[in-house]
């Protein structure tokens, strides 16, 4: 008798029955399609900006995770996901340019969180300075695509936007290099000590960015770098041939949306492949018990540095994209709070879990950029209209409180995260089905016992 069999047999609760019903036969296909159709229709037919649309956007992104979890054929999942992300979202983005920016940011943070998840979730190395690698990528492209470069290499012109593509790869390599560089001093540290040292190293990068305007002006100091180069729009002719005329701003929005989507897909692929290999198993082993991992022949130094390098490389590439997307970067963007924000995405979503981390990133980003400010605005509007909310209560000032409360509640009631790694879910809920302790309960005296003693 296996634990699985018993679990299926005992799911007699209403929720369990509903789940079982939704998972049988054509039901999951119909339900997912209906969900997708309703959400898409709501988005496309009513592309206004407001709390209602905010909610629909949230539902749209959650739909991605529903599709991922639904017990359907892979081809169905891929087709539906592609239609939604490559057609519905962009069209909605053209109709209402506000939201696609938020979705692009969510994708960007999802990739960053996945990178951090390699270090924290897989290898168990608590890194509080992760945003440093993001900064390195951003400054890399920021410096090379603006006149800043002539301060370093006299006479060198800023690179043309078409170099951007190459810099995606260079950002990857430079990120990995910095990952190894900052990983080296912390190899021997564990837990709290590691966290503090990475925190320090992360601050070092930010302080360098703030102060490296003298003696040579490399980073332009606290003023930051503006007019960062953007890649040329190769999709423009395509749109023209299709007879679509949209503003340049919107074209860039779509361009970055698809670019982030592409890089995110690549990140998921790489992280998934690694996690499913001897390298991923070695990382998990290090997380679980470093001493035992060493004794089992895992080269600790190499595996830890690899985790730092892989995690940092995604941040490097995303940094390059970020600087081109924003066209302006300055040191406060890369402060400790940002590192912690990314870490909270990983923990909220489920450490070590790829879909969980992405879900965490999406939720935190949407809350941050969209939902919490919107709720604050709505409350302020109510206040003005005379609803009895005390005047000392400024909703805008309190929006972070809601976020903090959410984190606290999550950690109390679901410490393993929203979509935990399958293994971890079992680990944190001991009270649920335990395997039958067969070996302990069988009182039979083995025949071999006598022969050994004799």
């Amino acid at each position: 008798m296996t634990a699985d069999n018993r679990q299926v047999g005992q799911s007699a609760s209403l929720w369990g029955q509903l789940r079982a019903m939704a998972g049988r036969g054509p039901a999951p296909y119909v339900l997912t399609l209906a969900y997708a159709a309703i959400v898409s229709a709501l988005l496309l037919l009513n592309p206004t900006t407001g709390l209602g649309t905010d909610m629909v956007v949230v539902l749209f992104l959650l739909l991605m995770f529903v599709i991922y979890r639904a017990p359907t054929m892979l081809a169905f999942k891929l087709t539906l996901g592609t239609i939604l992300l490559a057609v519905v979202m962009p069209v909605f983005g053209v109709l209402n340019p506000f939201y696609i920016d938020v979705v692009t940011k969510a994708g960007m943070f999802a990739a960053l969180a996945l990178g951090l998840n390699v270090v924290v979730g897989f290898a168990g190395l608590l890194d509080l300075g992760y945003v440093a690698f993001f900064a390195v990528g951003a400054y890399l492209w920021g410096i090379f695509s603006t006149p800043q470069i002539s301060n370093i290499v006299p006479g060198m012109e800023p690179l043309h936007g078409s170099w951007f593509w190459l810099f995606l790869a260079i950002g990857l390599a430079v990120g990995a290099f910095f990952g190894v560089l900052l990983g080296l001093p912390v190899l021997r540290l564990r837990g709290d000590y590691l966290a503090i040292v990475t925190l320090g190293l992360g601050e070092v990068i930010r302080v360098l960015a703030t102060n490296l305007d003298r003696p040579i002006n490399i980073t332009n100091g606290a003023q930051g770098i503006k007019d960062v180069g953007r890649p040329p729009l190769f999709i423009e002719p395509l749109f023209q041939s299709l007879g679509i005329t949209i503003s340049r701003l919107q074209e860039y929005q779509l361009y970055f949306y698809f670019l982030v989507l592409l890089v995110l897909a690549l990140t998921v692929f790489v992280v998934h492949r690694l996690n499913d290999s001897r390298i991923g198993r070695a990382w998990t082993a290090i997380r679980e018990d470093e001493t035992a991992a060493i004794a089992m022949g895992i080269p600790l130094v190499r595996m830890k540095l690899l985790a730092f390098a892989v995690g940092a490389s995604f941040a490097g590439t995303m940094g390059v994209i970020f600087s081109a997307l924003q066209t302006f970067i300055n040191p406060p963007t890369f402060d400790l709070l940002r590192s912690i924000g990314i870490l909270s995405m990983v923990i909220l979503g489920g450490m070590g879990s790829i879909p969980g981390t992405m879900l965490g990133a999406v939720i935190v980003t949407l809350l941050d950029l969209q939902l919490l400010p919107r709720i604050a605005n709505e409350l302020a509007a109510l206040q003005r209209r005379g609803v009895p909310i005390p005047s000392w209560f400024d909703p805008a000032q309190y929006q972070r409180l809601l976020f903090g409360l959410l984190l606290v509640i999550m950690m109390i009631f679901r410490p393993e995260g929203l979509l935990p790694e399958d293994r971890r879910r079992q680990e944190l809920h001991h009270d649920e089905p335990e395997p039958a302790p067969e070996a302990k309960t069988s009182p039979a005296v083995p025949e071999s016992a006598q022969s050994v003693e004799g």
Partner: protein, 264 residues
């Protein structure tokens, strides 16, 4: 032929000499026990052999190769593997995954091969899964392979540790108190398993053990450590009657029980 030779191995921690000038020769295909009162330096000696500690002085030769000062993973790759006194499994991994981790040094897939998912990598993964299943069957845990390691009963965890060590295809396996905390039935099973390691797999076994019945039953040679120094070495019968050994155990207080077992 000597598989492992420790030559005048000394390990000091600051002013404390945990292992003092211990020389030991282990013949290929033998089962050897290292015994001694608590704090005698047995586990430290294991840690030196497996490269977790570097010896302060002395040399270790394994299979004709000087392994003194090599990293633990290099030593594992050469063919020494171990289990731990207090079980150290990868608790949040499944039983099967634990064994797969043990195979790390025997797998060759590199970063780029893994990313591109080459046929070689996939074949290697398949082969390693089959091998892991075989090893689990050998220790009679295959039916538990998808359980988390932490959910196994105590005796099963001990056996899983052995399976994980076997995954590295060792020539020599070091077992640190393999029957500690077991009831008589589990102890008998464990003893049988240790014997099978040598008889069926041809692996040389060195064990640290406190249960004198186990030690006297399966060891072909016994080495006794006390305060980091080797005080006796020989056949089980010689050790049983060695006055220095009896004295070492009596001096530790827990001795009366130990001597009784040695005598019985």
């Amino acid at each position: 032929m000597a598989l492992l030779e420790a030559k005048h191995v000394t390990k000091q921690f600051g002013g404390l000499t945990a292992v003092n000038d211990v020389s030991l020769t282990i013949e290929a295909g033998s089962i050897v026990s290292v015994i001694g009162p608590n704090g005698a330096g047995k586990t430290t000696f294991f840690n030196v052999l497996t490269g977790i500690y570097k010896p302060t002085s002395g040399a270790i030769v394994f299979d004709g190769k000087d392994i003194t000062g090599l990293r633990p993973d290099q030593i594992t790759a050469l063919g020494i593997c171990r289990t731990f006194q207090n079980i150290r499994l990868f608790n949040a991994m499944t039983v099967l995954e634990n064994v797969l981790v043990g195979m790390h040094t025997r797998l060759n897939a590199g970063l780029w091969q893994i990313l591109f998912g080459t046929p070689a990598v996939r074949a290697e993964e398949r082969a390693s899964l089959n091998r892991a299943r075989e090893l689990l069957k050998f220790v009679n845990l295959d039916h538990q392979r998808n359980q988390l390691a932490r959910n196994l009963p105590y005796g099963d965890q001990r056996r899983l540790e052995i399976a994980r060590a076997l995954a590295a295809s060792p020539k020599l396996i070091l077992l640190d108190e393999p029957t500690a905390g077991m009831n008589p039935q589990e102890t008998a099973e464990a003893t049988e398993l240790i014997r099978r390691l040598r008889d069926e797999l041809g692996i040389t076994v060195v064990l640290i053990e406190h249960d004198m019945r186990v030690v006297m039953t399966i060891s072909e040679r016994i080495t006794v450590l006390d305060y980091g120094t080797k005080i006796a070495e020989g056949l089980p019968d010689e050790i049983r009657s060695n006055p220095r050994v009896i004295e070492a155990y009596l001096g530790k207080g827990a001795a009366a029980h130990g001597v009784e077992q040695v005598g019985g």
